[in-house]
Amino acid sequence: VPLLLRVVRKAKWYKNPDVPWLRDGDLQADAIADLRTTDNRLSVWHIEDDQSNLRRVAAAYAAGRDSIANFDYAIFNTDVVDDLGVIMDDQPGNSPDSEANEKWRRNLGQFSHRQLFEFAEYLRQSGTVKRMQYADVLESLRQAWDANQLDDRRVKEKILSQLRGDVSN
């Protein structure tokens, strides 16, 4: 079954008992900030069921940042689209990897506030929140760079310097 990926900040998604004040079955309220919509839409990425494109998607996203950093994400089943009654459409993104944008960038749309909270609850129950560490992101970016997958005109100089080996960090 294909999967979807949403970029989040992992620490906001820690649950009870790791966050002792949090009741069992609840999420930290800060997690909702990771689901901020624009025009009632939420940007996500399509991930193949064998996750074969995960590193490339991570590199595409990370290449569009100001500097190289960890990549935290929630990964979940596409069934959620039907379960929630939201729509999914292809929305070419603006990451420096144009092929990744065309192939795997998606939007989940027409979210009501209720559906957004249901989505958060779905992620709590069925999603998996993971972290790709800085070193792995750097390695993924180098692979993407070596494979000419990144448009360097859309990559910040700070990142380019690291990819070219000008600086260590």
Binding site: R9, Y14, R65, A69, N70, Y134
Partner: protein, 202 residues
Amino acid sequence: VVVDLSKVSLTDAESLAATLWAGSYLTDSWSATSRTASTVFPGIQATEPRALSSTTIREIPGDVEHEVQSLFEAARDEEFEDGIESQFSVRLTNLIEAQGDLAMGAINKVMFGGNAALDAASEAMRWLGQMKDPETHLYRIWTLRQGLKSNSLRIRDGAALGLSFLADPRVIPDLELAISREPCAELRSDLESVLDWHKRVR
């Protein structure tokens, strides 16, 4: 009070800092903070400083302290995203580059005195590891090592991320200790990844 730690070992730096935190060499303005230090850092005890003679002790100028307080206060309204510069991160790193250990002293006071929003303190930890500033390298590492001992999961997470940007084998024992004590399995796994990275680059 701030101690220039750039020329002392981590052990001596920690001993000095522990002494300062415990109140032996604190000014009045630090006393309130020192009372909370034993809660934030249960391992800290008052000990004799072993390297005071090789260090410089200076007062934190009021304007630096005020700027740091203002910085963390403004950060309460900011949303942070990994790898994206924010007003907070730019001001924080500029301040450290300009004021060095004086800024670090003020930052530690705010972060570990319980006066910073968790998200801001966690974000600060990340940038303390990510920024490049040789003058404050040791003090920033010391702060990240203390962050690993925080009662707050969010701050421990930020400290782990901060350390993931560095390649300094001196933090390996701290990471190993943090892993052995970390109650959150997810964070423990992330700490193990960071430890592997430090061992690989050793």
